[in-house]
Each structure stands twice: as C-alpha cells, then as structure tokens.
Symmetry: C2
Subunit: 345 residues, 2 copies
C-alpha cells in the first residue's frame, strides 16, 4: 500500500533573531507529511490542535549554548508546547485518537513526534482542551511549582507578582489568595488591572507603565514590605522590589521578559539587600517538577470545577495567526494565556 | 566608698561617612569610666583586649534604616566584635575574670556592656585569644553557617570563593577542601595568592587585579563550571560568576565589599542565568545561626589542634592603630583577619 502524503502548512524561523522578534522573522511554507509513522519507529504522528505562545521561546530564537533548551533551527518549523491528537502511533503508550500535550509540537498542521515519552496523555476532557496549553499544562505547572515548591509560602504573607495577568501570574495570584495571602499584581494595561482585581481576586493591582517611581508604588501597596516576589519581568521592577523585601523574603525567578530582547541585560543595583534582608532568590525551570503533575491535577481540577480558580486565555484562530501572537507577547498585547488554534479537533 | 573612675581612651566616629572611609572620619578622645557597674544593673564592665575590624561595619557608618544592625552614633565610640575580660558584673552569668566575646564592644579601653546576654563566655583558652575575633568568633561562624547551612555542599563539587584570604574566605576554602571539593579562590595580591595555594591548600587561586577578563579567568579554572560560589565581593566578579555557574548551583551571599563605599551599587547584568541554570542565590547573616555555635566549636577546635585548619591574622597593636586597620579593609591592605590589640590581658 502506498503511503499517503498530505499537505502540511508550517511556520518556519528564518534566522536567529536579534532584538525584538518581528513577524517577518517567520515565514509560511507548505510541505507534505507522510500520514504514517515510519516502520519500526516508536514515534507518533499527531494533528496539532492548540499551540502555546510562551515568553521563554525567545531564548530559542537566538543561538544559545548551555541553555536548558536547544535553539530553534533556522529553516525549520518553530516548536513549542501544544495540544494534539494522535493519528498514528509506533509507541506502546499511545494509540490513534489519544489527546496529548507536550513541549515539542511543531508549528505546523501535523507533526511527527520522535520523543513521545515526553508527552502527557490527556485524561480529563470536560474542560476546554486549550487549557492544556495553560492552566493544565506547562504554565499551570510553572505556577504550581514556583509558588508551592520555590516560594515556601505561608498564610498571611505579602505576595507581589509581576506580569500578573499572564499565563502563570494569574494562577500564582489565585493560589496565593486561596492560601490566605495578601496579593498585589502589576501589569501594563487598565484592562489587565481590572482583570486582576475583579476576576482573579487580587487585593490590589497597579499599572507599572503609569508609575514613575516603582519603589514608591510598591511602598504604597506594601507598607510593611514584601514576603514573596514572583518574578516574571526582571529589570527595573526587580530593583525596586529588592528595596522593599522583608526579612527572610523569597524571590522565585520564573522569568525576566523585560530583558529577553535586549542586547545586554539591564543592571540590577540592589542585590546587597539579599544580605541585609536574608533573601533567598531562586531560579527554577518547570521541567524539573513534571513528576508532580498528577498531584497538581488532583489539586487544580476540583478548583476549576468548583469555580474557585478562573483562567483567562487570549485565543487566536489559525496557524497563520501564530507569528503575530508570539511577537505580541513581548509588547504585552495578549490578555491572559496566548493560545493559537490550529484545529478544533 | 567613692566610685573609682579611670581614664578611657576611645575612638569616636565624627559623622556619617560617604564614599571610602578615611582615618580622619574617626577621632581619639579620652574620657573617664566608672570602674563598677551601676547599682542594680545587670550590665558588665569589661576591659577590651582584641577588637575586630569587619567589612560589615561599613554599613553602620552610614545612616541606615531597616538594616540588620543599627548605625553608629556620630560622636560616640565605634562598636564592633571583640574579646574582653570582665572586671565587674551585675549579671548572674558573668563574674569578674571571665573572658567573653561578643558583637557590641566599644572601640575603647573599657566598656560598660548593657546587653551581656548577647556575649559568649570563652571556655577554651589554649588557643590565641584573638581567635575569638576570627576563626572562633563571628567570621568563623559566618564561614561555617554560610558553607554548611547555605551552600548545601557535596563532596567533589567545584567551589569558588572571592576575597578568599580574608577572615571568612580562608575558612570556607579549608572547610571545602576537608569535604573533598575542588576549591579556587580569588584575592588581590601575590602574597594572598601564595597563602591560598601554599598555606590553605586551595587547588588554585588567582589575582583578580591581574585578570582583564574575569569570565575568561573563571573558565580557565572551572572548565566545567562552578557549583558553589561563596560571594564576598559583589560587582563585576558576581556578573562573571553568573556566566559560569553549573546547573542547580548555589551562591551564598555573605558580603559585597566592592560595593560598600559606592554611592550607587554597580549593576549586575547576568541574573537571567538564575533561571537558565536553576541557581539559588541566598543572602545570610551570621546572627541567625549563633545557636549552632557549640556545634561549630565541637567541629573546629579539634581541627585547629590537629593542625588541619590554619588561620592567618593581621594583628596591629594599640587602640590608636584601629582607624588605619579598619580603613585598610576596603583597599585590601590586610592579609587575613584584621585584629587590633587593645591590651593583651
């Protein structure tokens, strides 16, 4: 029997990117894909449904060595987290029709996945499938590991979250509220501030773009200081936070999106407060915590079903919308988790 | 009976200090002191023997709020760690003749100490008494707590120590060697480098003043990267270290002496490596670990007696030498722990 080939639209990275990524750094291409996994391979062939746009993908757009992820390959499709349906499987754990999510889905209609063991099979489907790019996927696990495992939070503590309406921040804030903490978030538009206060139940929120003096803003919302800072942005916000940390404070360094497109990272001047206030500042990567995923689902699925946690997604339709969506992350265009729909099923 | 008064030479801080401290920021004064503790007080009157010059005293020379130590009082004697002999006591735990060390000895011949409960009674006296300003005092406990409690060291790990011949660094290096680590130190003179390699048994040492490219120097000594950085200096060295940390590395932030005299701290540009390499960076203060002091003595006294640990002190004679000794810390003039002898007994 001749192997069926079908057309496969892709989004290709043209070359390594300097500065802010632009839509023109990516091009469309239509190629073909065989509709079966190669004989004897343990790969899976999937139809991609939802693609995730994540700030950390910026690292992969430059030539990096020694990072925790490989660079993208210029001339090849962008890859990232996504939700997909198995069309054919050479792997004993997966069968046709399975829904999966994982970290190495191509930005294309169909992907041949050669490391299916890194994928999770989706069990619970009475939630939006796109949630597996967000609250039930990598960003959800990032919020869970970062908050509960890295921040060592205690009831009643004062928590500050930057990029607080983003895919991770909105969850950290809600976890912290459920624990009985005082929670303040920063974001960059009025709409996001409204979300933080009115939808996610943050105690306070402020638009960092409207604050000329971030130190003064933090002092206004944290007259007694900050116990935990969930760091998503870096740069000037981090410097202002360091001035406002409490004794034995913790800073979970999840991301520094303000820095990713700079030729040289901004200087942070106030690290001496790490000593004065005995602060623990810790970088983490969600991949180190994926063994906790079942435990995380046990906690978060009931919260979703009981309406105790909300999740806001910014969903765009069509693979062709993906470059704009990805680029938009770095200007804060997205409101909530940025998702691209390639196909609904 | 009339209360006896004796003359008491003192070293007074003239005013808060900006920039590098100078000898002229301190003045001599001779006053008198009553030779008995006030009736009904639980203070102790001590004769000061050894005074400790510590980089962290720089913080107290400026007007600070919210720090872990109070500012010095302009017009009053400088205070710091020291070894003293009890002349009179209103406190049940201390009696005349006791030797003590603690953190609030005045820079003067005699001090009335109103918080004797913060002092340790010296038990073991078959070591130099000056050791209680160094290896058996605050710097020793700093090295012990910083290395064993903050760094989470493991045999065979790669350790880098800056200001490595100083009061704390020389001990951290020897503790690390005793644990079977690979240890490299940096310092600022040939004499110090020789000490590190030939007396303290560091595997390697380099003079940071002779390295135009600190990143390249670290890559030379750590081709596989650094597991633990014991941070004493801050600034450019920290930035270079961040580029060379290994996965799951730890940075114990003990001090940042290169920054203490600057109007604005230098910017640190490479904190994004905290994420990429999952680094924990933690500031600590020795005062939080003093409950471990008996355990520390149990470990370190045998090491001293068996010759497994050396300790180098830079001892100057006479209270009048104290300002020069203190100021010298910030140009790296001292070789080893800087001590001032006020009286030998």
């Amino acid at each position: 029997m001749a192997e069926e080939e079908v057309s496969n639209k892709q989004i290709i990275l043209k070359d390594y990117v300097n500065g802010f990524p632009k839509e023109s750094d990516m091009i469309f291409k239509t190629t073909t894909v065989k509709f079966k996994v190669p004989e004897g391979s343990n790969a899976i062939l999937v139809k991609n449904l939802y693609l995730s746009c994540d700030p950390a993908m910026r690292f992969r757009m430059r030539k990096t060595e020694g990072s925790y992820v490989d660079s993208f390959v210029p001339g090849s499709p962008i890859t990232g987290h996504g939700v997909a349906k198995v069309l054919d499987s050479g792997h004993p754990n997966f069968k046709k029709g399975d829904l999966v999510w994982g970290r190495s889905v191509g930005w294309e209609e169909y992907s041949l996945i050669t490391d299916p063991e890194t994928f999770f099979k989706i069990g619970c489907t009475n939630v939006p499938l796109s949630y597996y790019t967000g609250i039930l996927g990598m960003p959800g696990m990032t919020a869970y590991a970062g908050f509960y495992e890295v921040c060592s939070p205690k009831e009643g503590e004062f928590i500050f979250i930057s990029a607080a309406s983003g895919a991770v921040g909105q969850l950290v804030g809600q976890f912290a509220k459920l624990m009985g903490c005082y929670v303040v978030g920063s974001a960059g538009t009025k709409q996001k501030i409204d979300l933080l206060k009115n939808k996610f139940g943050f105690d306070e929120a402020f638009n960092y773009k409207e604050e000329h003096d971030l130190d003064a803003a933090l002092k206004r919302y944290f007259p007694k200081g900050i116990d935990i800072y969930f760091e998503n942005v870096g740069g000037k916000m981090l410097d202002a936070v360091l001035l406002n940390m409490r004794l034995n404070g913790r800073i979970a360094v999840c991301g520094m999106i303000s820095q990713y497109n700079l030729e040289q990272f901004e200087g942070i001047h106030n690290l001496v407060f790490l000593i004065i206030k005995r602060i623990r500042m810790e970088g983490f990567i969600v991949f180190d915590y994926y063994h906790l995923y079942p435990k995380f689902l046990d906690m978060v699925l009931p919260y979703i079903k009981e309406g105790k946690i909300d999740y806001v997604e910014d969903i765009v339709e069509g693979l062709e919308s993906a470059p704009t969506a990805l680029v938009g992350l770095f200007s804060g265009r997205n409101v909530g988790k940025q998702v691209v729909v390639v196909a609904h099923e």
